[in-house]
Symmetry: C2
Subunit: 492 residues, 2 copies
């Protein structure tokens, strides 16, 4: 199986698609740009969801559900937001099909079932949610309103790519309403931190927290917080965003509240989301030429056990011992798959679980049984060791923790090696082409300079980093003053 | 608050809507026929989902995700299914909006962005899933394929009603593929049993398992299994269905497999689903004129604790004791809400938690503190008792179990009292009008008779019950022979 993967070094894009295929994560569907998320891929997404959902609830949010459709008149209410998404909206215009009179067994759209107002399939839900919040918010007592929604959204992208950019994708979108500007900003920051912690602590994916430049902001936001991760080809991937929406949606939908003194004001808003794009980020952060590599904290299977036998008697003996091993592992919340499928050879199984990124593989044969040991292989480093069956569960528990840590350090090291300060535009252009990666550069803060760099190099400002030293300098392009270095990179 | 609920006896339909409103479960949105599921309603749905999801996984199913859109040509492939849903399909015809040249700030559908093939928003996913299964299934080794999807679906219903019938609703749809007819039938029966057990064991809602008559079957199914519940107005509510699809979809999408002997055959299929309709069923099974009544196993909050105090000192003393109580309850997985909101009076809070169906309410005042006791009120019977704080957690744990049992018995008793055998059409018509409920009647098995009864009485065959004695008889309408009694009722 492993031989089917195009090496990263040869063709990175194809490598990415090969990993998705060999690990059985997703595939393109018969609907242009829409994917099918296959069971193994969905199981990883479910794990992400469950951790994030718990974090949202711990920070006081409740889940709810709003309609998938947005009447055009509501959609266009917040002008910048509408403008930003209008070009990629799926639009429902009719509510009925009928038999084609000219073509038996075929259906046509019934022209008599035309909607008086078209419905946009939500590309994001601010419009439908804020038109609802108008009914829910009257006084400061109704605030803060802290709601999250798990949903599918549709953005008609022209060039799609599994997980990274699909016409339909799954996500969560938080939509909160606050009495003060400071509280809304704190919420937007808090949720960006939740995303950053999740990425680092669960996905073992280091991220840089920052602010978007004006031109890269969410349409309708006053400020966009983001987390940016570095993929193995040195490109950036925006893994999550959290928007301070100011009073823009409150004004567009006339959502006011009476404060304690009875004075009316518009409500302050945030929205924040991560999507199945995280699957793409996860794949491109850790995987290698043998397949997917999964951090244990997000893996649907922690340990695959493969028996090695010739006779039915050996198989049965191994099976008995494995039952004990599984019982010990389960006590520690370790998820085990015992694969004693008689139709497949051990080598095939090894390659299979490697391709699927299962963090630990245990092999056990008759000789191992005699010596009361097993062979333990870790996916991240490919290292193998013989381990005594006594204390195996403890060993595996520690190993899973070590793999989790190792994946994060490895990714941090990679990022460190591929992030550099440059001070001249020539050096920037040269190193961007030769080495790729993230560049810490001085920029004069204007959209003109940003546009020029993008047009000439395809690199964009990924963010104004929040947690790095803010040394002033001069713009690498114009020589004008700059308050801090920003991160520039080519991006997904 | 309670006074805002229209009594059931006065106007059952309005009572239903009032419960939804006062318990803050859902509301109509600005999109015709689509609802907003509010946080408290969604929390109940989440509890249902989590129990069901576990049961699906225990029975070997995995979750996956398929596109929301179905190209028209795929949608029409299984003719009966297409025919059944064509009249209520939302259809996407365009993929872009643009600025209205005649109306600044407004958007219009871009006529140049017309899709070459229209996309149906899934009313159910057999078509898109079976066109995918074609790629996944080649041999008996690929079978059974046991997949479930949690998703939103859209059926353009003309007359909608919160939870019971909405244009968009949330559901799960299982789609399985099997090598043999017997295995597919066993799967359809198994999943109908999973639904029945869930309804009875968690929702405390007794159901009758049965088969649909041909005219009431799912479009494209060879057999539809169902569970039917009796609402408090005597009407039936179909709470879940499980379909044996024969080889209909395999033939429509050309899905064949090679068996062990290398012979090719079409694959056998099932599909099965429950939806947010269960929320409506839950509401109408247990609620009363004071509000929602929730079975503890599905309630987002098990116990509401309300302090009764005059001074801040009393409030603080009670708060300390309540901390101990909460700690003891949490150890038993009991979910507690302590409501010491100073802005609301105890009476208001009592009514609020009653309206929301919280199974147990605890009130605690200074006198209670002195006597080391609290007042415990159960939502189902409205009974109140003083209970010593020592052993309170045990008492509450037992009480929650008792409430769960009591709700089911109460519903079973109600159903027993409202289900009757009748043998003449006159008696049927008279009692249907006077008393409502379920009728066990003999029917000659023809669609003509079924149609006649429906046209004359609005009652339909809810199901051919699977677990009742099968005594033969003569049709109450035509006098022709009947093999077993069927259940007839008016239905939601
Ligand atoms: Zn952290
Ligand atoms: Zn049972």
């Amino acid at each position: 199986m492993a031989s089917k993967i195009t090496p990263r070094a040869k063709d990175y894009s194809q490598w990415y698609l090969d990993i998705i295929k060999i690990a059985d994560l997703a595939e393109n569907s018969e609907v242009r740009g829409c994917m099918v998320i296959k069971p193994y891929g969905y199981a990883i997404w479910e794990n992400m969801k469950s951790v994030l959902d718990e974090k949202f609830k711990e920070t006081g949010h409740s889940n709810a559900y709003f309609p998938i459709f947005i009447p055009k008149s509501l959609f266009e209410a917040e002008e910048k937001n509408a403008e930003g998404f209008a070009k990629e909206c799926a639009v429902v215009t009719h509510y009925r099909l009928k038999s084609d009179p000219d073509n038996k067994g075929k259906l046509i759209v019934d022209p008599e079932a035309k909607l008086t107002e078209e419905l946009v399939v939500r590309p994001t839900s601010e419009a439908i949610i804020w038109s609802t919040y108008k009914k829910w918010i009257q006084s400061y007592r109704d605030l803060p309103l802290l709601i999250n929604q798990w949903a599918n959204v549709v953005r008609w992208e022209m060039r799609t790519r599994l997980f990274l950019r699909t016409a339909e994708f799954l996500w969560q979108e938080g939509h909160t309403a606050h009495a003060t500007k400071a509280e809304a900003i704190a919420e937007a920051e808090q949720m960006n931190n939740v995303y950053a912690d999740f990425s680092q602590d669960y996905l073992a994916m280091p991220v840089i927290k920052g602010l978007k430049s004006e031109s890269e902001r969410f349409a309708g936001a006053d400020e966009t917080y983001c987390i940016e991760a570095m993929m193995q080809d040195g490109k950036a991937l925006q893994a999550g965003t959290s928007h301070f929406l100011g009073q823009n949606f409150a004004k567009a939908f006339d959502v006011k509240f009476a404060n304690k003194e009875g004075k009316e004001d518009y409500v302050w808003a945030t929205s924040w989301g991560v999507s199945t794009r995280l699957m793409g980020a996860l794949i491109m952060t850790h995987s290698d030429d043998l397949g997917l590599v999964l951090p244990p904290k997000i893996a649907p299977i922690h340990v695959a056990i493969v028996p090695i036998y010739k006779t039915d008697e050996q198989r049965a003996q191994i099976g008995e011992k494995v039952d004990e091993i599984i019982a010990a592992l389960k006590k520690k919340q370790i998820i085990v798959k015992y694969d004693d499928d008689d139709q497949k050879r051990p080598g095939w199984k090894f390659a299979e679980y490697e391709a699927k990124g299962v963090p630990v593989r245990i092999a056990i044969g008759p000789r191992d049984l005699e010596n009361n040991q097993v062979e333990v292989a870790r996916r991240d480093t490919q290292a193998k060791t013989s381990v005594s069956i006594d204390g195996l569960a403890d060993y595996v528990e520690d190993l899973l923790a070590e793999i989790q840590v190792n994946l994060l350090s490895r990714a941090e090291l990679f990022r460190k090696e591929n992030m550099r300060e440059v001070d001249t535009y020539d050096a920037f252009k040269e190193q961007l082409e030769k080495k790729g990666g993230f560049f810490l550069v001085h920029w004069d803060g204007t959209s003109e300079t940003e546009e020029k760099i993008k047009a000439e190099t395809k690199a964009t400002i990924r963010c104004l980093p929040l947690e790095m030293e803010k040394e002033p300098g001069v713009c690498m392009v114009t020589g004008k003053p700059s308050k801090q270095r920003v991160i520039m990179a080519k991006a997904y």
